[in-house]
């Protein structure tokens, strides 16, 4: 058995059952072209009247799109009433095929699934030969939504009583993907919100920094994050109820206390050396020095806001809220007392490390603290060779063994500790869900500050003020190139060539036209810069062949479209898209008229030069 049906047999079967016009979705452009070739010697010729009708229709379309006049596929399309339609073709050719199909002149079109995504192109029947599509180098299964987009092309309103989606197997098919796709509910949409450098600049241009969080909160991303956070909050509420029996006992924080005590008991004989650089006294304290804990310092008390490690010395450090709402940093070694008192603290990832509410509340608590506070006894592990005596002694320091609530603590510890861990986990997740966008925004801000597009007070610098107009991929690289004066004195063709290599993100290979020394050295410079920026922005492909191709098109106005296509193995449609993308990038550079008149002028010259021939036909 052949791995898939022969295209001629396929069309014959469809015609025979009156299932035409049909769109046949194939896996690749190649497959479409090869399917067309199989008709070269088939005697599936249209009656003369229909051939004539196609010719007339095509002529009418040619008036608007002269580039299709000599299209090599015209004879076969006319002869058999079947065409291919894929991204390798020029837009004008695709428009022509779509129009022929709309007018009912064609029996079938071989197309790739990209067609399903964006063209208004219905038929009586669609034929599906695959269950996965190539998405950025990898094959992934079609989603339910995609299967339905494809199948949705079948059955034209007003022209068909019924539409047909016909599956025919090929080695690329997984039938369950398709049957699920046909019968299932389309997937829910998930936000894909990302924060780009130009977004940050444009937001800060129009709004003060303190309003931004509110604007980000309007995104669908935040809407969906909030939905998740609300679910967790419900869980958290349930946990609070479950935690009720385990509230404060003789010590407020009995769970931590018992944990330490229990740990000490268990490890009486198998004490391990601590791996921390700190003394055992300090290490033992660390678990208690979490946000919200009241501590005693040499001058007065404070409440811990966060614990961290100093970058250089790797010492354990604390950020502490002191009286009069002062926030100070101090090493853990300077902590004199750890009190058995903690307050709830809604932590945040940035200074002052807690929410404004928490900050106010904690400041208030700090002023109101009683003069005597219970001190938390902390077991100090003695390190290398534990002496049983010492342990016994330190166990003696715990109030637990003689405490009246000991049996209760013993009984409840496992449950309570698990619940508390869950609580802490949920609280942290909620925190992250609520603040992650803001956090990402801040990260971008820091980079833009580092590069001098934003002032420390998050205002746009002179550079930032023009850089915000570059709103395309690789914006940081482009603005850095402009600042490095890489384009100064570069003529329009060089500029266009470089922007083409930035704009083109397709890795389909193309043959290599000769590259000019000027472009080659400039491209080298761009590569170096792109590499140095890679921690902040993914580097573009920077293909030299596409740069050279576009440079030639701009530099040599006598070069025809056919001539350009001969310089490379890229498909016409890809060359067109390359030039169209380059135009997009150039138009952004052109917007810098007031700050970079020379560059903007070069960009607009390049635009005029690119827009000729086929590129004139469409807006």
């Amino acid at each position: 058995m052949p791995p898939s049906i022969h295209p001629v047999d396929l069309i014959t079967a469809l015609r025979h059952k009156h299932l035409t016009p049909a769109i046949v979705f194939l896996t690749s452009r190649r497959a479409c072209d090869e399917a067309m070739e199989t008709f070269d010697h088939a005697d599936l010729v249209l009656p003369p009247a229909r051939q004539e009708a196609i010719a007339v229709a095509l002529e009418r379309i040619t008036v608007q799109h002269p580039s299709i006049a000599e299209h090599p596929l015209i004879p076969i399309v006319k002869r058999i009433g079947i065409a291919a339609h894929h991204a390798g073709h020029l837009p004008s050719w695709k428009i022509a095929i779509e129009e022929l199909m709309r007018q009912g002149h064609l029996d079938a079109v071989f197309a790739t699934t990209t067609l399903a995504a964006g063209v208004d192109f219905p038929a009586r029947t669609v034929v599906i030969t695959q269950s996965s599509i190539r998405k950025s180098r990898d094959f992934t299964d079609l989603t339910i939504g995609e299967v339905q987009q494809i199948a949705g092309r079948a059955g034209r309103r007003g022209k068909d009583h019924v539409g047909f989606a016909i599956v025919t197997p090929s080695p690329y098919i997984d039938l369950t993907v398709l049957t699920k796709g046909l019968t299932g509910q389309p997937e829910a949409i998930d936000s894909q919100f990302t924060i780009s450098y130009p977004m940050v600049l444009n937001l800060l241009k129009a709004h003060p920094h303190e309003q931004i969080q509110g604007i980000l909160a309007k995104s669908f991303a935040q809407f969906q994050l909030n939905q998740r956070a609300e679910l967790l909050e419900q869980k958290l509420d349930a946990l609070h109820v479950q935690m009720e029996p385990f509230g404060p006992r003789v010590c407020t924080d009995w769970i931590t206390q018992w944990h330490t005590f229990d740990h000490a008991r268990r490890h009486r004989h198998t004490r391990h050396q601590t791996h921390r650089a700190e003394s055992p006294e300090i290490s033992a304290r660390l678990p208690f020095l979490t946000a919200g804990r009241v501590i005693g310092l040499s001058r007065g008390r404070g409440i811990v806001l966060r614990q961290y490690r100093s970058k250089g010395q790797k010492n354990s450090m604390l950020t502490v809220l002191r009286s009069d709402s002062a926030v100070t940093e101090c090493p853990v070694t300077s902590v004199k007392e750890v009190y058995d008192r903690t307050y709830e603290c809604a932590e945040t990832p940035a200074y002052p490390w807690c929410s404004t509410d928490t900050f106010d509340r904690l400041s208030h608590h700090l002023e109101e603290l009683p003069s005597r506070l219970p001190v938390l006894p902390i077991l100090v592990s003695t390190g290398i060779d534990p002496l049983p005596d010492a342990i016994v002694q330190s166990l003696g320091d715990f109030p637990c063994p003689t405490c009246p609530s000991r049996p209760a603590c013993h009984k409840d510890f496992m449950t309570a500790s698990r619940l508390r861990q869950e609580q802490q986990r949920h609280t942290k997740s909620i925190q992250a869900l609520r603040t992650s966008l803001w956090h990402r925004f801040q990260e971008r801000v820091e980079v833009l500050q580092k590069f001098g597009y934003l002032t420390p007070a998050t205002q746009l610098t002179i550079e930032g003020d023009w850089a915000r107009l570059i709103r395309i991929d690789h914006s940081l690289l482009i603005t850095e190139l402009i600042r490095a004066e890489a384009f100064t004195g570069a003529d329009p063709s060089l500029l266009a060539g470089i922007l083409a290599s930035l704009a083109h993100d397709d890795d389909r290979p193309g043959a290599f036209p000769r590259i000019s020394p000027g472009l080659s050295s400039l491209l080298g410079q761009v590569r170096k810069l792109a590499e140095s920026l890679s921690p902040y922005e993914d580097p573009p492909l920077l293909r030299a062949d596409v740069a050279a191709l576009v440079e030639r098109w701009v530099a040599d106005p006598s070069l025809t479209w056919i001539g350009l296509c001969r310089l490379t193995t890229m498909a016409e449609g890809d060359i067109y898209r390359l030039l169209a993308r380059t135009l997009e990038f150039l138009s952004q550079v052109q917007a810098l008229k007031s700050t970079h008149p020379g560059l903007a002028d070069s960009a607009s010259q390049a635009i005029t030069l690119i827009r000729r021939g086929v590129l004139e036909e469409l807006p």
Binding site: M1, I5, G152, T168, P169, S191
Partner: protein, 351 residues
């Protein structure tokens, strides 16, 4: 199961099953032979051993069920073949209820011309969009363009500017031609990054990126006066919101869309249109109306065409059995089973 046992079990399976197991696990698995496939699967199993094992068990179970359902007599050992009596009866029952090819092919043809009557959902959307933002989520081919055109017409009659965005330049061009035909060439303009055609027209077509840029310019004070008269923004193919690279542009556009303009989001069927509507309600000045339906206007039937040219219905039912993906037509099921048995193990040259 330890690794040796797993390998043993894998070796015992037909290659078709291994390929099925490899889907989503092994890149380009269809290029690998059995030995290599097992190697790759074992390699992969380090990532999620439990998942692999349970999928394997499920597939083996399925394979048995499948072979018992009476399709292939050649490949099966006699022991299994003999056990078939009971399931076979069930199968023949369902074969009775399964639609026949001639029924399936019945009714092909062109309906007689009908006077145009808007569907209820179209009318509903049109009256809603006068007052509020509207999200439409309906199957492809339902007639979203009619809503866009009529909504645009009404806004233009009120001397409002209308912006229509599409995700692709190609689509913008098609719509430009189509709308120029409907409203006359003077009424319609198109904007691209470097070009404006008829930029002063009341109905402007552009890609969503271009609109986003306009809105950023407006926000930073470089106001295009025309945004003041903006009455309606139509975002076609709004399911692009889920596009990994470009989805963010739809969010930016919606966030910054002027509050006096109504938003009309046109989308193919998606799973959570209510979320989109709720989101709009939460950030915009009006309560967003959701217009949705899942029923296709032109009924759809699914078929299976075997490489030898034999055509059968794909499902037992005439239409698509929504929510029941396993109701395969017995004939399609058998043919596809044969196809998989014959093509995959041989590692034939691929197209």
């Amino acid at each position: 199961m330890n690794t040796d046992e797993l390998e043993q079990l894998l070796v015992q399976q037909p290659v078709t099953l291994l390929h099925r197991l490899a889907r989503g696990r092994v890149h380009r698995h269809f290029r690998a032979g059995k030995k290599r496939l097992i190697e790759l699967l074992l390699q992969h199993s380090s990532q999620n051993r439990a998942g692999l094992e349970s999928d394997l068990q499920a597939l083996i179970g399925e394979q048995h069920a499948r072979s018992e359902s009476g399709s292939s007599h050649i490949h099966l050992p006699p022991t299994i073949a003999r056990k078939k009596a009971a399931p076979r009866r069930a199968e023949s029952e369902s074969a009775e209820t399964a639609v026949s090819l001639s029924e399936w092919l019945e009714g092909i043809g062109v309906p007689s011309p009908q006077p145009f009557v808007p569907d209820p959902w179209q009318t509903e959307a049109l009256s809603a969009v006068r007052e509020t933002d509207v999200v439409i989520s309906v199957p492809t081919g339902s007639g979203k363009t009619y809503v866009a055109v009529e909504a645009a017409r009404r806004a233009m009659e009120d001397n409002r500017t209308v912006i229509y965005t599409s995700p692709l330049k190609a689509l913008s061009n098609t719509k430009y031609t189509e709308f120029s035909r409907i409203f006359g060439p003077d009424a319609v303009g198109i904007l691209t990054g470097d070009r404006q055609e008829n930029g002063q027209a009341p109905l402007l077509i552009m890609t969503t990126e271009i609109l986003r840029n306009l809105l950023y310019d407006a926000a930073s004070g470089e106001i295009d006066v025309r945004l003041d008269t903006l009455g309606l923004v139509i975002l076609d193919e709004s399911q692009y919101l889920a596009d990994p690279e470009r989805g963010v542009v739809w969010e930016e556009t919606i966030i910054f869309c002027p509050s006096q303009a109504r938003l009309l989001l046109l989308s193919a069927s998606i799973g959570n249109p209510q979320d989109i509507a709720d989101w709009l309600t939460s950030i915009r000045s009006t309560v967003c109306r959701l217009v949705r339906h899942g029923k296709r206007t032109v009924p759809l039937r699914a078929g299976y065409l075997h490489p030898n040219g034999k055509l059968t219905p794909l499902f037992k039912t005439l239409g698509i059995p929504y929510g029941h993906s396993s109701q395969l037509h017995p004939e399609a099921k058998q043919l596809f089973f044969e196809y998989e048995e014959e093509t995959l193990p041989a590692g034939r040259p691929r197209r």
